[in-house]
Subunit: 336 residues, 2 copies
Amino acid sequence: MLLLKQNHAKIGQSLAGELADVESRFTQELASDLDCVNALINHIERYRGKMLRPMLVLVSGMASSPTARGLTDPHRVVATVAEMVHMATLVHDDVLDDAHVRRRSTTINYLRGNEAAVMLGDYLISHAYHLCSSLDQTRCCRTLADATNTVCEGELLQLDNRANLDLDEDTYFQIIGLKTASFCGTCCKLGAMINNAPAQTVNALYAYGEKLGLAYQIVDDILDITGTEDTVGKTLGRDLDKGKLTLPLIHTLATTNAQTRQTLLDLLNPTNNTDPPPDRADRVRDIILNADALDYANARAQQLIQQAQQTLLSLEDSPSRTLLQDMANAVLSRKF
Amino acid sequence: MLLLKQNHAKIGQSLAGELADVESRFTQELASDLDCVNALINHIERYRGKMLRPMLVLVSGMASSPTARGLTDPHRVVATVAEMVHMATLVHDDVLDDAHVRRRSTTINYLRGNEAAVMLGDYLISHAYHLCSSLDQTRCCRTLADATNTVCEGELLQLDNRANLDLDEDTYFQIIGLKTASFCGTCCKLGAMINNAPAQTVNALYAYGEKLGLAYQIVDDILDITGTEDTVGKTLGRDLDKGKLTLPLIHTLATTNAQTRQTLLDLLNPTNNTDPPPDRADRVRDIILNADALDYANARAQQLIQQAQQTLLSLEDSPSRTLLQDMANAVLSRKF
């Protein structure tokens, strides 16, 4: 799970138990009568990461009902669904990114081909909706599917802007808003919706999750530059190879001098990349580091985290609200 | 739509109107605020085919309530959902099959890359669930997701048996049962479920759809051999290139003499295929044609269609039951 600095004692222990429950539901729901399917599922269990999205569902559930009976079964169901959807996007993202390593494990597409990865992602999505529709009402399914519609739009907009060296910051924020932030917001929203929390609480938690999601994505961009393959656990420099523009790069292109900009454009120009220099990623990285673009990206992420924390103040004070505040800090300080 | 031999006069007209309604709901639901998404959606509208699955939902809806008010809005919703799910599987299948042509149009993966095809398929699946969850109850969502779970298992089992020259007929039927027949059965089942039809009717219609789906897939295998690219509208011989064993091929391998079998195995052996002879597909086709394997496959399809029609006899006689009988005949006689 996401590494928290503070010790949340009782609530932290209870959350750890709930996340273990999510893991076991996840495994149970995906089990198949077919050995070949189970082999793939066993493999992706290794991708299990920070479990940010189930945490957002569960802690939002706690924070939106601080004095009540706590979490209910639908919270656990939706938390598991959120992890399945996220896992599906990882598996399909790896096909899109042609990635070979994910969280220090070989990717399914590299190991078993794009075809198996496409179908495994579909299997995960299908099971997510199947599990979600075990709930009494369709409103969770509807909200979930609304969120996945948006995620797909974000992915398609990002693909459409591949190798678009003129990508501006607004479009960048539109892409990560659709692709990442909306789903984080929805996880928080669902946690509160299940409690029938008042609209103000639901909206505040959605806004919290959305801001946190934007910051999460910017930190991803930063780690692609500052991290090592060993700590981040995925192939670095793929963003570059796949023509995906990150915030530090966009900022550098927009603010650097004409000469450096031209050097960057030459390095990034896809028509020059039929045989890219082996040190291309290093050279781009050096230019970004010299342009202080990481400070800029860090400041943007920090600002978003402050905004996320600000929106929580409309909620009643409680240990779970403090936990949400600290989760936002952890998104900012994460090293992987 | 599926070409019917008989003139179904009034009911046929009404069905054509309902299918036009499905088309318009389909387009409306998929519209996006993003131009790049709409461009992809416009392209796949050209894939629109026989609309078998929406027809199964609608006519099963009519046949399971012959004397009642006819079709309701949930029937139209579920028929549209069925077409979206089917379209999603086509788009992802083309990635799996590396196909360049689909229904005489260039495929999305060939035109815009595998990445766009993967995401477009996800967008379609997501919108299918989103639309389905607009209904009051979760039971349609649950039944739909159960069916898509099964479709994915079938696709994964098929992938696992790629280039498995020992694939037996039982496993072949297991694959097409999971991949194709279960979804056709579910379309019929949903049509009846929405009417709150008695269990006997729901089960009979599921069995009808399942048998019809098996026959449909066998006819696909036959058309891959006897059809021309112009009539079938997709790249022929891809099944062979992708190591997908079809019923005529499985039957030929199981029944031909040792010498011919060895010739076939040499032609099919993937390790020999690094540089396959340009006439490989033609040579395999000739061997299959000489082995009378098409007669065998045709007989199996015919038998399944008879069984499908048999199950309908438990339903009250009505023009829509006759239409279902004729749809089964049309699956058998289709040329594309």
